[in-house]
Each structure stands twice: as C-alpha cells, then as structure tokens.
Subunit: 359 residues, 2 copies
C-alpha cells in the first residue's frame, strides 16, 4: 500500500489495542475503536484516529477514566440522565443512545442527557443507531469554547454539532450531521496544515474583527456561528449552538458555555466549572409512534426522490441528500484504505512505542 | 393616536370579530386573534395582522375550515398525531401543543406532529406555552416552498422556522425563534415595500444566481438557506430546513417539500399533494424529567448571566440573549400601540367593509 495509506482493519486493530492498553475492557475497547474510526471511514478525518493522541494525553492527565461504568442517575418513562463516569465519550455515547432507544421502544420516544463524559467522535453515528429500529435518531454534544457569539470577542461555545438520522424505505436513510458554525474546526485545521488562508466569514480575531488567518485561534481568535455575521444570520447560528449547549450541558448537569473542559491536555481546566465533564443529548423517536411505519417510509422515499430531482442550477450537479457524501466516502475508503496525514502517522508511531505496540 | 398607529386592544377586538364573522366559535376566535396578534406585539409584524387578509382569502377559497375540530388520530404515551381538520393554524397549534404538554406531564416528554393545518403565525408563542409548566417547549412548521437548496434553482422548502423556549429561574426565559433561511421572508417583504435592494446572500434568481433584487421571488427567484452559499455553510441551513420539513410534514402525514400549499389564495394548489395541508411539530420536555428542576433553573440563570457578560467587541453592546429583543418590543408596543403599514390598514378596512364591521 502507498505511504501513509492504511486499511481500515489495521487502524481498527491498532486503536483497539491502544484502548486496551490504557485499561479499557476488551468489549469497550473494541466498541470505542469502531466509533472513533467511524469518523475516518466516513471521510471526517478530523474527528477520527487523528484525535487518538489527544485522547491518550487527557487519559495521562487523569481526565479520562478507562474503567468507567456509565449509569442512569435520573429517569422518567421517556427520559434519562446518564453519568458517564468520566469515560471515553466513544463508550459513554452508545450506552446513552441505547437507553434512548429502549425508552422509545416502551413509550414512543426516548430522550437522554449525558453528564461527565468526554469527546465522542462524530455525532452522526449515534443518531444512526436508531435507523435499524425504524426510529429517527438525534445526537448532539457541547464542546470546549472556540466560537464567539455575535457582539462577543470572547469564545463562549463549542462547535456544538447536531445530527439527525431518518429511516427511509427503498432509499438510503437521510443523515444530517453538522457543526453549528459556518465552518467546522476540522475544516480550519485542514487549512492550517496546508498553511492556507480561510474564506471570509469563518473566523474572527481576538478583537472580534473578521480575518482570514487560519491560525488565528491560537491567538485568541474564534470560529463564527453559522451565518458568519448579522446580515448573514449569525444570530441564528448562535441560537442553534446555544440550544445544543443548553440541552447537552445545562439539562444534563455537565459543564456548559466557556466552562466545558478543553480537549488538549496542556490547557488548564476552566475555573469554577458548574457541572461534570462534557455533555451530550440523544433522542430516539419510533416512526410508528406517529402512524403506520410503512406510510412514513413511502413518503420519506418520495421526499428523497423529489429533492434529488429538483431542477439543478448546473446540469448533472443535483441536490445532495444529507448522508450521501459520507456513504460514498465510506464505500471508497473501506475498499481502498485511509490516507493519514504524516503528522498523524508519526503521533501514532509514538503511541505504539509508548505502549510497546507495532504501528 | 398618530395615523396608522393602533392600540393592541383595538387590533385584537377587530381580529376577533373577523374570525367570528367567518364562523369561528367565540372562544376559538378569541384565542386565534391573540395568537395572530402575538406576532405584532413581539415586533414580528410580517406574521401578524398583516396576514389577516391572506387568511380571509384562503377561507373564501374554502381552504380554511372555520368550524374545525382538531383531533388526535394516533398516539403513544409520549407522542400523538393531530389532524387539524383544515382549521386556522392559530387554533390548531395551541391544541396540539396542549397535547404535547399533557404527554410530558405523564411520561416526561411529549411530541406531537400535526397534519391538515394552516399557517400558525409565529412559532415562538407555542414553544413558550411550555414555560409556565417548567418545561422546555419546541415548535416548528413547514410552509410553502420559497427556498432553494444548494445546487437547485427550484424552490423546494419553506422558511421552516424552529422555536425553542427554555425556562430560567430569576432570569427571563431563553426563547429562540428563527427561520432556517439567511433572511426571513418578512425581512425581504420589508425591503420590497421600501423598494430597496437585499444584501448579498439572501436570494437567488430563477437560474440560481445570487442577486440583490428584493422582488426576485415574483420572477421565480428563491430565498437561500441559512449560510447563503456552500462556503458560508448553506448545506447546513438546507439540512435544518429539511429536518423541520420531515418532522412537520413527513412524520405527520401533511404535505412536504414543494407540495406544501401556498398561502396566497390566487396560487393553485400543487399537483399530486402526498399529504394533508400544512404540517407542524411540537415538543415539550419537563425540566424535572432530567433532575431537580431547581438545579436546572439555577444553571440556566448562570448560563444567561455568563453569556450576557461575555467580553463585548464594542463596549456597551453585549451579547443578546434569545428572547430579549421580542420582550423589549412587547413592553413598548403594548404601551404605545402598533404602527401598521398603510397597505395593511387599507386591507383591514376592506375586510371591515366585507363583514360590516368598523375599523
């Protein structure tokens, strides 16, 4: 295989071994590794194995509990709060989504807020857990503050993604998964690596002025909410990010706003944290809780077909149905392997050395 | 009072009389009038009494049933589907939200999809019905297609607003209410009346080219999803509008996408409509379904205070908490009266004449 290109199986096996080395039980290590690699394999490589070294560093800083036992600490028939026991978000999130699915089976919908967790990779994969049960799945998380609301030069919110997965009949499911900022941090990191400037409307400097220097976040800059500026509707992006923060952080008893703990281990924890760890929020709705499931699937097929066939601006470039690009990426990457950035490869080699593994 | 300025009470009484004249029962007419006027009084005058003449015209076209009896046609413990019986959305929506509140009282959360309804005014007011019950309220609706997805020159979605209301303790509640487009149709209508151009990123022409002519919607143009273009994240605005359409339209058995019936009575109904009327979606979540309600309120106060005190870009211009501008507008407008556009006044006078009322 060409340099820096690796099969999915190799990356999965390695990641699983690393999680076992930090103390995860075999079953947890395997599930966490699959969930981390789901980002790489769906083409969202900023959230995948590229983050493994960050995870190891915060584990070394004793901010991740490899022996975590997530548990329900409050519940009603349709809701629960899960304490993640400071575990890997990659293990806590599927536990919590499973609770949401069980609640939905019983009473039509299930809603689970999570406290005391860590980064969970891509949100979409947890929303997608609902699909095989003929349910609509919802997943969101807060994250450490790198986004400035309108009128603020201070970073107050994470990129706070929202994912919604909707089953269809003959068509592939609709899967939306997006940061509530104009550009995700992953897209910005890509420009940083290439030493390229960012488009206008993505970032501002430490005084709140719009800039194009992709490295500005290191100097007190911030990502902008979806909409970029007030004329572009950035107050709406701010509201979206706030809703995610409130459901994931305030409702769960996790931290919120500028108090969400940072991913890089070298950054100190925020002072006066009001809650526990990072927060997530999950939802599951049985489609047959709203009428015959077959009717829903037939109409969802119609929705997808109708949108795909909207009159295109440029012939041959049709409307993209959410979920299509990631599915296409997955088909190619599973077959051809995943290309990693040389920096990521070198970090993985260091991890291998640390744990006497081979990469 | 100055010309074209009217007290809230006068507008409310007139609107109530008009709804009684078309055949609504007194109680329904009163509640519908209050819900329509809630838009004017919160400063969102595009969705208020300015739409009364449109409502009357679609009633004359027999597309609104003044004697509607909305009813539950499917339910589980946490969900319901409501058939609006082709009634005024202003009456159907509060009925459905009340069902969501009852479900939430029983099992923690309640989720109601609505079919066979009509325009319901501003979404925020129904989300806010949850507040007095110490619940988080959610409201959304689809609407006739005037928004083009990325890559489409065809109008496929309505402005599909999302509203989320969150109770706080000592602070006023957080109330987000926004169209999933860069600019709402109301803002565009304002520019049309003033014969002014629109900012870049709000609209495109019938070929899919970005333009600034605010009248372009009359010539096959379209509003753009939040984000404006792909660099600005318009695929995210499209995903948001789609989620609202799927929950409001597909899940409920209403129409969706380009099949949602138009508000202007002179426009023909779309061919091959797959569902019934316009669709809405409502949610209610008891805050004490996720832990002690007092803890939530204390932390929500902290959230609001912390965001309000984020370091401002310009001293004195602080971060705006969602809900503040509408509350401020309401305090002023209830006291000083509502100014209506001369065209709206003249339409109201015509309505008065039609029904032998005085305006």
């Amino acid at each position: 295989m060409e340099q820096n290109k690796f099969t999915y199986e190799k990356l999965l096996k390695f990641t699983c071994s690393v999680f076992e080395q930090i103390g995860c039980e075999a079953k947890d290590a395997s599930s966490a590794a699959i969930n981390l690699l789901n980002a790489d394999i769906r083409g969202i490589d900023s959230h995948g194995i590229a983050r493994l070294s960050s995870y190891i560093r915060i584990w070394e800083a004793r901010r991740i509990n490899a022996h975590a036992k997530p548990k329900i600490i409050h519940e009603t028939q349709s809701t629960a709060v899960v304490d993640g026991d400071a575990g890997l978000g990659l293990s806590v999130a599927p536990f919590a989504m499973q609770v949401a699915l069980s609640k939905a089976k019983a009473v039509g919908t299930g809603w689970v807020a999570v406290q005391n967790s860590n980064h969970f990779g891509i949100a979409g994969q947890y929303a997608m857990m609902a699909l095989e049960h003929d349910m609509i799945g919802i997943a969101m998380t807060n994250a450490s503050a790198i986004v400035a609301p309108p009128f603020s030069k201070e970073r107050m919110l994470g990129t706070n993604p929202i994912a919604v997965a909707v089953p269809a009949g003959k068509e592939k499911p609709f899967v939306a998964d997006f940061a509530t900022t104009t550009a995700s941090n992953g897209k910005l990191e890509l420009l940083q690596r290439k030493n390229q400037g960012a488009p206008e409307g993505w970032i501002q400097d430490n005084l709140g002025e719009g800039v194009t220097d992709a490295h500005i976040l290191k100097n007190g800059g911030a990502l902008l909410p979806l909409g970029s500026d007030l004329t572009g509707g950035s107050h709406k992006g701010f509201m979206l990010g706030s809703i995610v923060d409130i459901l994931s952080g305030v409702l769960s008893g996790a931290n919120f706003g500028p108090w969400v703990p940072p991913l890089p281990a070298y950054l100190p924890l925020p002072e006066g944290m009001p809650g526990k760890g990072i927060g997530h929020f999950f939802g599951a709705m049985r489609i047959d809780a709203f009428g015959p499931g077959e009717d829903f699937k037939k109409n969802m097929d119609l929705w997808i077909q109708r949108f795909r066939s909207a009159q295109p601006v440029h012939s041959g470039q049709n409307v993209i149905i959410p979920g299509d690009p990631e599915r296409e990426a997955e088909a190619i990457l599973r077959k051809n392997g995943v290309v990693l950035h040389p920096e990521v490869v070198s970090e993985l080699k260091s991890i291998a050395e640390k744990f006497s593994l081979v990469f």
